[in-house]
C-alpha cells in the first residue's frame, strides 16, 4: 500500500513567546550561522522549504517596546538569498508585506531569488493596515476596511503580471549575429487598477519557476477565498483532527470555482512537537517547554492582549480578573501594537467568558490557563508515535503536511530530523530523497507555462 505523501517545512523560530531563549542551547536569532544551520538541517531531512515570518515594527505593549520575547530579525529576502548559497534543494519562503512594498520591487526580489536559487523561491503574501507599522514607511500603513483584500489581491495579480512579462524565450545572446534579445518589447507591462497605476518594462528575465510558490496565511473567510483563488499553499493554525478536516474540506471545496484541482493548493498547518523516549517522558518535556514559554509575566501580557487593558498589577498565579475586556473598534490603537494576533480574538467578551468558565472548572491560575490556551504542543510522544499522529492527519485529510515550528534556535529541528523523519521515510509517507530541483517539484505542482498564463 502506498501511503499518502506529506509535505514538511521548517518555520525559522520567530519572535513569539514560543521561541525559548533562556536555554543554554539557545543560539543567536540573527547570525547567519543560525539560518544556515536550520536550513541545512531541513535540507538534510529532505524538507520542502524553510519559512520566515515578518514584522516591520518592533512590538509594543502598554506604550513600551515588548521585551520578554526574542526580538531582532533580518530582512527576509536578503537572508534567503544568502541561504541559497549554502543549500541546493530546499525551498526558501519569505513573508513579504504587500502594504509596505511596491509590486515592482517585490517582483524583482522574488524573481532574483528564484534565479539565484535555481527555482526555489516562495512568497507568503501578507497585508496589514496598521498605522503603527506605517510610521516606519513613507506611504504609511493605513488601508480603509474595503481596500484591504483589494490591495492584497491587486498586489498579487500585479506581481504576477510583472513576472509573466518575460515569457522565457527572449534571450538569444547570439554572439555571431549580435542579437541579444529576440523581442524589443521584452518585459513590457501596463497595469491600471485601483491600487496600482504602473507601466514600463520589467528588468528581470523569466526565472526557473516563472512565478514563486505563493503561500497565504489566514483562517478567515476572505483569506480562504484568496488562497483558493491564488495560492499554492495555505499556512494555517493547527487544531484537532476534526477541526483540520473541516477546514481542509472547506478550502478544497472552494477550488473548483477557480478552475483549480485539489492538488493545486496544499494545506499546511503550523505544528509544534515534543519528543521523548517514552510517552511519559515526552509529556513531561512538553510541560517543561510550556512553562518556559509562558512565564508569569508572559501570561499577564497575553491576558492584556485580549483584555486590552494594563493588567500588570495582577498576580499571574492568581485568578482571572473580574473586569471585562475593553472593546474598541478595529482602527483604535490597542494596549498591544504590532501583533497579528491582536486581531485574532474577534469577540473578546466571549473569549473572556469562555476562559473564566474553563479556569473555574479546572481551578486554573492566569498562568495555567494561558499555558493551556496558547502553547499546547500539536504532537507529543515518542518519535514513532509522533510519526503516526502526523500520518493520521494526512491520511484522514486534515492536512497535506506541516510547517514545523521548533522552540529553539537554531538546533530545534535537529531531533525531529534525526528521529522522526527516518521513521516517516521508512513507512513511505515522506520522500527518501528529492526527486526534482525546484520547490514546485517538491510540492508536486506542475511547472508553469508562461505563454499559457498570459
Amino acid at each position: 500500500m502506498s501511503r499518502r505523501q506529506m509535505h514538511l517545512a521548517a518555520h525559522f523560530p520567530g519572535v513569539n513567546n514560543t521561541t525559548v531563549w533562556s536555554e543554554p542551547e539557545s543560539g543567536s536569532q540573527i547570525e547567519f550561522s543560525s539560518f544556515a544551520h536550520m536550513a541545512q538541517t531541513a535540507e538534510r531531512a529532505r524538507f520542502d522549504f524553510m519559512f520566515l515570518a515578518e514584522g516591520l515594527r518592533l512590538r509594543e505593549q502598554n506604550g513600551a517596546i515588548y521585551d520578554l520575547d526574542v526580538v531582532g530579525r533580518p530582512d527576509n529576502a536578503t537572508i534567503l538569498a544568502a541561504v541559497a548559497a549554502v543549500t541546493e534543494k530546499l525551498g526558501l519562503a519569505a513573508t513579504i508585506s504587500s502594504t509596505f512594498n511596491e509590486p515592482y520591487e517585490v517582483a524583482r526580489r522574488l524573481a532574483s531569488i528564484d534565479h539565484l536559487s535555481g527555482g526555489r523561491a516562495a512568497w507568503n503574501v501578507v497585508t496589514s493596515w496598521d498605522k503603527f507599522t506605517g510610521e516606519n514607511f513613507r506611504r504609511g500603513g493605513y488601508l480603509a476596511q474595503g481596500d484591504r483584500y483589494l490591495r492584497a489581491t491587486q498586489f498579487l495579480d500585479t506581481v504576477m503580471t510583472l513576472l509573466d512579462s518575460w515569457r522565457g524565450d527572449e534571450i538569444v545572446a547570439d554572439k555571431a549575429t549580435g542579437e541579444f534579445l529576440r523581442d524589443a518589447d521584452a518585459g513590457r507591462f501596463d497595469v491600471h487598477v485601483d491600487q496600482f497605476d504602473i507601466r514600463g518594462r520589467f528588468s528581470v528575465p523569466r526565472s526557473p519557476q516563472g512565478r514563486p510558490v505563493v503561500l497565504q496565511a489566514g483562517d478567515s473567510d476572505e483569506g480562504r477565498e484568496f488562497a483558493a483563488a491564488s495560492a499554492d499553499a495555505i499556512f494555517t493554525r493547527h487544531g484537532s483532527l476534526e477541526a483540520g478536516q473541516a477546514f481542509y474540506a472547506d478550502v478544497k471545496r472552494r477550488l473548483a470555482a477557480y478552475g483549480r484541482t485539489e492538488d493545486q493548493l496544499k494545506i499546511l498547518p503550523a505544528t509544534t512537537f515534543a519528543l521523548g523516549d517514552t510517552q511519559a517522558e515526552a509529556e513531561e518535556r512538553g510541560r517543561q517547554i510550556r512553562r518556559q514559554q509562558v512565564s508569569g509575566q508572559t501570561a499577564l501580557r497575553f491576558l492584556e492582549q485580549v483584555w486590552n487593558r494594563d493588567l500588570s498589577h495582577l498576580d499571574p498565579d492568581g485568578p482571572l480578573p473580574d473586569i471585562d475586556p475593553l472593546v474598541v473598534d478595529g482602527d483604535t490603537p490597542r494596549v498591544s501594537q504590532g501583533r497579528a494576533a491582536d486581531r485574532m480574538y474577534r469577540d473578546p467578551l466571549a473569549t473572556a467568558r469562555e476562559w473564566r468558565e474553563r479556569a473555574a472548572a479546572n481551578n486554573l491560575s492566569i498562568r495555567d490557563l494561558m499555558t493551556e490556551v496558547t502553547s499546547r504542543q500539536s504532537f507529543v510522544g515518542t518519535p514513532s508515535s509522533v510519526a503516526e499522529q502526523m500520518e493520521r492527519f494526512v491520511e484522514q485529510r486534515a492536512s497535506d503536511g506541516f510547517i514545523l515550528v521548533p522552540h529553539i534556535t537554531p538546533t530545534g529541528l535537529d531531533e525531529f530530523a534525526d528521529k522522526v523523519v527516518p521513521i516517516l521515510q521508512e513507512r513511505g509517507s515522506f520522500r527518501a530523497d528529492y526527486t526534482g530541483s525546484t520547490l514546485r517539484d517538491h510540492l508536486g505542482l506542475a511547472p508553469l507555462d508562461a505563454r499559457a498564463s498570459v
Partner: protein
C-alpha cells in the same frame, strides 16, 4: 602620499562595461542570471586581494539612452536585483567587501537599512551600499507613486536632498539598536533592554521614519555607504553622507578640483575629522602588450559605439599603474576599475595590475582585516545613541 595605502575595487555589471563585451569569446551572456557566474567573478576579485566589488543596478531595464528606454536588441538587457545577488555571493567569500547599488529615490529607506544590515550579517562585516538616485520618468512610472520635477536643476536638487535624508535614516536605523541591546536576562525575563533600543524619529521634507529598526546593529556598526559623483549635488552628498565617493576625473588636475569640492562639502558638514575616501573610476581594457589592448578596444568600439562617464584606459597593467600613481597625487585614496569585458579585464586587474602594484610596493600582499571598514582603515564607530544614554546616565543634574 605613497605611504598611504592604495585601495582597489571593481565595478561588476553584466558582461562587462563595454556594450560589445557580451560578444567576446570568453563572455558567457547566457549565464548572466546564474549565481555561478557572479560567484566566479567575485572569487576572482578576492584572489586579487581587492578591497571591494560593487554590483551595478538600476530599477528599470538597461538603456543606451540615459533618459528613456530604448528598443535595442543588440545589447545586454535584464539584470538581477543587486542586493539579492550580493547576499547570494557573500557566504562564498571571506574577505572582499560587497556593495550592491540601491536606488534610494523609490525604495523605502527602512528596507534599504535592513537589507544592508542583513548583508553585513551574512558577510560577517563586509557589507555596504552604493546609493543611487533615479531621475528617469520611466523609472518613476514603474512605481506609479510620484511625479518628478521636469526642470533638471530642480530635479537634481530634490533627488540629492532626498538621498541625503535617506542615508541619514539608513544610518540612524543601523544605530537604533545599541551593540549590547540583547541581554537575555533570565532573572528578569527580559530578552532585550529596551533602554538600548532607540526611536530615530526622523522627520524630513520627503518622509518621516519612527524606528527603531527590526534588525540589530550590524557587525560593522555602520556598513560602508558609497556614491558616484559627477557634479555639485552628488559631491555634497558624498561630503555629508558617504564613506566613499567614486569620481570620474579626466586627468590629474580635474581630479584635484573634484577632491577639493568634496573636501569642502565634507568640511561644511562638520566631518573634517572623518575619513572620506575619494576613488577615481576608470574603465579598463588591459593586455600585457599595450598595443594589443588598444587594438581590442578599437575592435570592441567597431562593434558597438561606446562612451562612458569615466575615463577609458586601454594599455598594459604597467601603464595603468603609472597613470594611477599620477592621479593619486590629486588626493585620491583608491580606484574603482570598471572591467570593459568580463572576465577578461577583471583577470587582467587581479593577475596583471595587482602583481605590478605589489612589485612597486603599492598594494597589499594579503588581507590585513576581516571587515570592509577594516580594509578601508575605518574604525568601528561608536553608536550615536549610546553616547546620549551615557551622557544622561553620567549627568549629575
Amino acid at each position: 602620499m605613497p605611504d598611504t595605502p592604495l585601495h582597489l575595487g571593481v565595478l561588476l555589471d553584466g558582461a562587462g562595461r563595454h556594450p560589445a563585451a557580451w560578444r567576446e569569446p570568453q563572455a558567457r551572456p547566457t549565464d548572466l542570471f546564474t549565481a555561478g557566474y557572479w560567484a566566479e567573478l567575485v572569487a576572482e576579485a578576492e584572489q586579487g586581494l581587492l578591497d571591494l566589488v560593487t554590483l551595478d543596478d538600476t530599477l528599470g531595464l538597461q538603456s543606451a539612452d540615459a533618459f528613456a528606454l530604448d528598443p535595442r536588441t543588440d545589447q545586454v538587457r535584464g539584470r538581477l536585483d543587486a542586493s539579492m545577488l550580493a547576499a547570494r555571493i557573500a557566504p562564498l567569500t571571506s574577505h572582499v567587501g560587497i556593495l550592491p547599488t540601491v536606488v534610494v529615490t523609490h525604495t523605502e529607506p527602512f528596507h534599504v537599512s535592513t537589507t544592508i544590515a542583513t548583508l553585513d550579517y551574512v558577510s560577517s562585516g563586509r557589507g555596504g551600499v552604493q546609493v543611487r538616485v533615479s531621475g528617469r520618468a520611466e523609472e518613476a512610472q514603474l512605481f506609479g507613486r510620484r511625479t518628478l520635477p521636469t526642470d533638471r536643476d530642480e530635479l537634481l536638487a530634490e533627488l540629492f536632498d532626498e538621498a541625503a535624508d535617506a542615508v541619514e535614516v539608513i544610518r540612524r536605523l543601523w544605530d537604533s539598536w545599541e551593540d549590547d541591546a540583547i541581554i537575555r536576562d533570565a532573572a528578569t525575563g527580559r530578552f532585550v533592554d529596551r533602554e538600548r533600543l532607540h526611536y530615530i524619529d526622523f522627520e524630513g521634507r520627503h518622509f518621516s521614519v519612527r524606528g527603531p529598526s527590526i534588525t540589530p546593529r550590524p557587525p560593522q556598526g555602520q556598513p560602508i555607504v558609497a556614491a558616484l559623483a559627477h557634479r555639485a549635488e552628488p559631491f555634497a552628498l558624498v561630503g555629508t553622507s558617504a564613506d566613499l565617493g567614486f569620481v570620474t576625473p579626466r586627468d590629474t588636475a580635474d581630479a584635484r578640483t573634484t577632491v577639493g569640492a568634496i573636501r569642502e562639502a565634507q568640511a561644511a558638514a562638520g566631518r573634517e575629522a572623518e575619513t572620506v575616501h575619494v576613488w577615481a573610476d576608470l574603465t579598463v581594457v588591459l593586455d600585457d602588450d599595450a598595443s594589443a589592448a588598444r587594438d581590442r578596444l578599437a575592435r570592441l568600439d567597431s562593434v558597438a559605439a561606446y562612451t562612458d562617464d569615466a575615463r577609458v584606459f586601454a594599455g598594459s597593467p604597467a601603464e595603468l599603474a603609472d597613470l594611477m600613481a599620477d592621479l593619486r597625487t590629486a588626493g585620491l585614496s583608491g580606484f574603482r576599475l570598471r572591467p570593459a569585458v568580463l572576465p577578461d579585464d577583471l583577470r587582467q586587474v587581479t593577475r596583471g595590475l595587482v602583481p605590478e602594484l605589489q612589485r612597486r610596493g603599492q598594494f597589499r600582499t594579503g588581507y590585513e582585516a576581516s571587515t570592509l571598514r577594516g580594509l578601508l582603515g575605518l574604525p568601528r564607530p561608536a553608536d550615536r545613541y549610546a553616547t546620549v544614554v551615557r551622557d544622561r546616565a553620567g549627568s549629575t543634574r
